[in-house]
Amino acid sequence: MITVTLTVNGRTYRADCEPRRTLADFLRHDLGFTGVHVGCEHGVCGSCTITLDGASARACCLLAVQVDGSEIVTVEGLASDGELHPLQESFRKHHGLQCGFCTPGMLATATELLKENPDPTDAEIRQAISGNLCRCTGYQFIVDAVRDAAR
């Protein structure tokens, strides 16, 4: 067991885990951030995408011990003071949620996209979210939501 310290959504957590524990399982099962959704466990589906030290990352493709000392934002950290993040609000408005499984990863990916490119074209939005699988195939609504939130 190794002690891992992480700052998640602005609060610092310490917990013991085995070296083989992925960051996704550590956040979800050990720290209780169940918004971290575990799908494929090999980086393809994107549902475990979180923000790690300011940049998007797949939580299933990292060991928790590897990122000891990092700062993480999960979907639970997007809303503040009871107000949804503009992207969350837009996903709700445009029915971009569907079943909700891919949503946390989509939001992390879209947050990074809008940070780097505040006025993306539809093609750029599609390119950015093409690494996140939506099994409801609700992509059009998600693209609409991201485009609208960018305004």
Partner: protein, 282 residues
Amino acid sequence: MKAAPFEYLRATSLDEAIEALGTPDARALAGGQSLVPLLNLRQARPSLVVDINRLDELSFLRKENGRLEIGALTRHRAVETSAVVRSEIPLLAEALGHVGHVAIRNRGTIGGSLAHADPAAELPAVMVALDADFTVRSASGERTVAARDFFLGPHRTALGRGELLTRISVPSHRGGWAVEELSRRSRDLALVAVFATVTMTGEVCESARIAVAGAGPTPIRATAAEASLTGGPMTGDAIALAAELAAAATDPPGDLHAPADYRREMAAVLTRRALARAKEGA
């Protein structure tokens, strides 16, 4: 699935990492973007994982004597977005844009991608096309391996036990260049990808470099195709011939994603497109 148990060492110095990598079945852990999925699927079961992420001395990017020196631990995204890379070796920046999605490139490292040696990966082929040199370090010192001698087979490299890839040295290239890639999903590993550079004097091709990914056990350097172009005018016919020669040099795998014949045919098509575009930019 979940990984099988392993011992873990967070290396605090290069020497410590190298010594630990001498342990049988030890594996270095860089970005983890290939190794952690392999662990999760139990396709890799190392006895010891040596985490090199704290070795800041392996993370750098600088211009030196007309070459770009890249530390093995430098993240894909840092190289891709670097202004120096965009001006000195735009082919490298463009190729990196095809390496997975941004979330993968934020964590994956240049050295990790090369050491992983996936025949369908972009970076190994790019390094072969650009005639890069790799520095490899072990307890007995450093050695330099040319990119074209580094890749021995699928996921097999010239790295021995206790050796760490530390530095990648790439000559600048400002002539024409192009990346042409066919994949099943945008930013996935290539079914086939072609990386080409061309320099011209007037209408005459001075040099051409062509490397193909996804079409053999290692990246394939299409030397016969290059030779057929060098010293002559780059006409449509010359390009078509070079494309046929490049395809003939491939030894593509056939799998459920694409049969071998299709990959070979696409190697010709993509080479033709890549050379035409590289010529335009030269």
